[in-house]
Point group: C3
């Protein structure tokens, strides 16, 4: 039986934050367009850093870290943000890289410039 884990603020959305089946962790979308104090983050670098901080914080609740990531989809609002996204990525991942695919999409929150989703493993 899969282990379905819901961490705030996902508890109000009828979705799981993580679903663990065997040693694999399936991860739904994460964003980070606001900082921990609720201030809007304007640059895509800041949003990428905050997005991975939010994911890291949630992963920590199941005793995992960003080094557990196997596969990441980076979803950008605007492909011209790619280089700035990649600069932040290089700060976050200096070894133990996941595979990555970058696509573009519109978002519900017009202020949001990046989201991520992916797959991790229980180490």
């Amino acid at each position: 039986m899969p282990n379905r884990i819901t961490i705030k603020p996902y508890d109000s959305y009828n979705v799981s934050t993580f679903v663990i089946q065997g040693d694999i962790v399936y991860i739904g979308h994460f964003g980070g367009s606001y900082d921990d104090e609720g201030n809007k983050l304007l640059s895509v670098e800041e949003q990428v850093m905050q997005t991975f901080r939010n994911l890291e914080k949630a992963l920590r609740e199941i005793d995992l870290g960003l080094d557990s990531l196997l596969k990441v989809t980076v979803i950008l609002k605007d492909i011209t943000d790619f280089n700035a996204m990649h600069e932040a990525w290089k700060q976050i991942f200096s070894k133990g890289y996941p595979v990555r695919t970058t696509i573009t999409s519109n978002f519900v929150d017009d202020h949001c410039r990046v989201q991520i989703e992916g797959i991790a493993c229980v180490n």
Copy 2:
């Protein structure tokens, strides 16, 4: 060896409907822009409901149900359909939620407003 399963109408497309490896079921795109009688479904709510009915029907052929879903990508033509999609989602999933990511994409069929794809498990 993976178990590759093709269910109509996917048999004419050189793709599998499901590929099962171990206890994981990989699921290709499903849509639902027409009802079972072939009538066009106009609203995104109706299309979301029909899309998951189509997936449920196909999953039943391998003795699974929507409760086997671990990870779902919802692909919308228009992000302004998000709230309507989510209303339908809440009717479909009242517990045992998969993780979800929503992205936007164009579709071959201009009438289609939503598709889904994902990963499930053999319970």
Copy 3:
């Protein structure tokens, strides 16, 4: 522990080409908008063929082939390229089909018309 494999030209991007966990191979984005001599490929058919050739070549380095693919996401710049993509797909996959989902996205390289990503298995 996942086995993280980086094959050129991915070594300069802080991403893995493949990450293997158990018997599953997670695959990041592949493209093929230039041929092996560095000439631009203009048609989407040619780019699809080259993209899968590039993936096949990389998979061969871990003793796998395209028949190991379980799940493929085809990412098109322009949905009107769908039929041409599918014609190439039918040449590549005559049996043992993966599941497939096709979405649209912008790309960093304006010349690129298609990318793929997916999941394979160690046979």
